[in-house]
């Protein structure tokens, strides 16, 4: 019996060793990469891929700060979080010659403010954060953030907002015409009053459920990310994504090479792999945002390429979320806690 156990344990060890040359550990957003693509990478490069997921940029930072840095190879932070992580010294750097496909990055996304010259990150997908409205529940004009913050009777009590202070308070600021990261007392008081006044009309706070509440009909309007809205439509929600005249949030998620990555080589291979137009297109077809990679067009499914969410009107206005300094951020946090107390 003992021999049998030893033998099978040995066989198991050998099998694992034979199965993969190395490992790759990814820390990623939920529902953001097709499993087939991970399988494809694992097979092509003979690497065992494991992935954990998070649901907000802040959760990503918190996990890495709590001691997980050094366990993951790559993570996928949004624009402002790249800046924060770089400032915290959590990112490793690479040179373009370590990545043959580096030139595939679209020109407009190479010299970005949050990572000038792309020394630690590559583009993953970009999109916008706004809201969608069920057109069966409301047939008025769809052009303003007032539908969320000063909603009409039809939508009251049927609104879901994202459960992250960054996105919800930034959209509120856009509606109120207040600059981001303001420390002006009157403006902050106005922002506080705006969200306090709107809350009774909100049914729920939820980010990971943002799509489901629209599909199920629990919410008739909901803040949502552009691709998530497209997916909700594909799942049968009779909704329209709104490009508000006050502006919306534009963001870009990036694959970042983490400091102390245990498998740095595989991480670079994976980033290079994601810069192949065909693979970048596979992510876009799945997540329904927009890749920052050249040459993806021919691989895109027509309904994804032509989705209204990914093709904003020419006059649509977007802003990136800014990372506020500490003394200002605590004020926004106080407003958020006050809103949910």
């Amino acid at each position: 019996m003992k021999t049998l156990l030893t033998t099978s344990a040995l066989a198991l060890t050998l099998a694992t060793a034979a199965a993969a040359e190395g490992e790759l550990k990814i820390y990623h957003w939920f529902e953001y990469i097709p499993q087939e693509l991970l399988d494809k990478f694992a097979e092509e490069y003979d690497v065992t891929v494991t992935m954990d997921t998070f649901d907000s940029n802040e959760a990503l930072l918190a996990t890495l700060k709590a001691g997980k840095l050094g366990e993951y190879d790559v993570a996928v932070p949004g624009d402002y979080m790249v800046k924060i992580m770089a400032d915290e010294g959590m990112l490793d750097t690479f040179t373009p010659d370590e990545m043959p496909n580096f030139d595939n990055i679209e020109d407009q996304w190479v010299d970005v403010e949050f990572d000038p010259g792309r020394k630690s990150t590559i583009p993953y997908q970009w999109g916008s954060t706004s809201f969608s409205v069920n057109t069966e529940a409301y047939d008025g004009p769809l052009d303003s953030l007032s539908l969320i913050f000063e909603p009409p009777e039809e939508l009251k009590g049927k609104i879901n907002v994202l459960d992250t202070s960054g996105e919800t308070l930034t959209l509120a600021s856009l509606y109120a015409g207040i600059p981001q990261c303001t420390s002006d007392r009157e403006q902050l008081k106005a922002l506080n009053a705006l969200v306090q006044g709107a809350k009774p009309a909100w049914a729920s706070f939820g980010s990971d459920v943002a799509k489901d509440v629209l599909v199920s009909g629990d919410a008739a309007a909901g803040m949502i990310w552009s691709g998530f809205s497209a997916k909700a439509r594909a799942e049968g929600a009779p909704i329209e994504y709104v490009f508000p005249k006050e502006g919306m949030i534009v963001w870009m998620d990036n694959v970042a090479l983490l400091k102390d990555a245990p498998n740095r080589d595989n991480a670079l291979k994976f980033m290079n792999f994601l810069l192949e137009p065909e693979n970048a297109a596979a992510v876009t077809n799945y997540a329904q945002y927009t890749a920052g990679v050249e040459g993806v067009a021919e691989f895109l499914e027509p309904e994804v390429a032509n989705s209204p969410e990914s093709n904003p009107p020419a006059d649509a206005k977007g802003v990136f979320v800014q990372a506020c300094p500490e003394e200002v951020q605590v004020l926004y946090d106080a407003i958020w806690t006050n809103l949910k107390k």
């Binding site: 907000s56 802040e58 930072l61 700060k65 706070f205 500490e326 605590v330 949910k340 107390k341």
Partner: protein, 306 residues
């Protein structure tokens, strides 16, 4: 500990004499590593200075407790008054947990009574049936409750089909839904200890009470309840404590509109500013409150038992 058992094999107690502390070692290690160490760590963190966006600076401060109890205005420059924000969140959680405990007791006691008074042969079947839903993960059960309660869910569809209501009832994202979720999640924690107590109850006592012209209500109050009280208390603690820290039901069924203790603490670690010392302080205060209540109860119990 290994005291000499009266009348029972002197040789055995001889063997174990003095080895008590050594035999307790595994238990002490377990308590030390998994209970004391984390609590001490938490206590220490609650007195450290917060680092922006998570983390701590090793400088001693009362700032976290100050923030919890004192309100200095949005901009921190007003004279301090009592801060009701967090006390309010705590009170809401305690109220919710208390209500859930009450409903669990209301339904759990008769259920346990019914099961315990069945013939021995069928009792295990009833117990088995009560535990079946709990083979499924708590998250899945909470999400299914959400499906049941939503405007287009089976409950509303059925009521509209029967014509009892014309418009769907707004059940989801209400405190009612949270209560349903907590009740459903923790009911067996109430039923099982009470069942154990009722099963040991000597029904001759009820007969004696009846012989002495006790009506059934008085029998319940003066004879049965005191006898099964330990089971009821254990059940109440087992429901109240996890309900207090519950976050799945408030988030999924209540719409996460208001912080509960659990989500308030979570926000300190996952939120935008990340204030670990404050999260640790809130957890310490919660721990102190729960410990306090349990200690008071233990004291009262000891006094009662003489």
């Amino acid at each position: 500990m290994a005291g000499a058992a009266p009348g029972g094999g002197a040789s055995r107690s001889e063997v174990y004499r003095g080895s008590g502390p050594r035999l307790l070692l595994p238990a002490w290690i377990f308590i030390g590593v998994f209970l004391l160490l984390p609590v001490i760590l938490m206590a220490v963190y609650s007195f450290l200075t917060k680092e922006f966006r998570g983390g701590v600076i090793w400088e001693f401060t009362f700032a976290a407790y100050d923030q919890f109890f004192l309100n200095r205005g949005l901009f921190g420059d007003e004279p301090p008054t009592i801060e009701w924000t967090y006390l309010g969140i705590f009170w809401r959680s305690i109220w919710q947990a208390g209500l859930a405990t009450f409903f669990c007791l209301l339904i759990g006691f008769p259920t346990a009574w019914y099961v315990a008074t069945r013939p021995v042969s069928t009792r295990s079947v009833w117990l088995f049936l009560i535990t079946i839903p709990y083979w499924v993960n708590l998250l899945i059960r909470t999400v299914s409750m959400k499906f049941l309660l939503r405007d287009t869910g089976p409950l509303n569809e059925f009521l509209m089909w029967t014509g009892v209501i014309a418009e769907p009832l707004s059940l989801i994202n209400t405190n009612f839904a949270v209560q349903v979720g907590l009740f459903y999640s923790y009911l067996p924690f109430m039923v099982l200890p009470i069942y154990a107590a009722v099963e040991r109850y000597d029904f001759a006592l009820s007969e004696a009470a009846a012989d002495l012209y006790c009506d059934s209500w008085t029998t319940l109050r003066l004879v049965i309840l005191p006898a099964v009280k330990p089971g009821i208390v254990a059940g109440c603690i087992l429901v109240f404590v996890p309900s207090l820290g519950a976050f799945l039901a408030p988030d999924l069924l209540g719409g996460a509109k208001t912080f509960m203790i659990g989500s308030l603490i979570e926000e300190q670690f996952k939120g935008a500013a990340g204030n670990w010392p404050f999260g640790a302080a809130a957890a310490m205060i919660l721990l102190t409150v729960v410990m306090g209540v349990l200690l008071i109860h233990a004291r009262a119990q000891m006094r009662e038992d003489g």
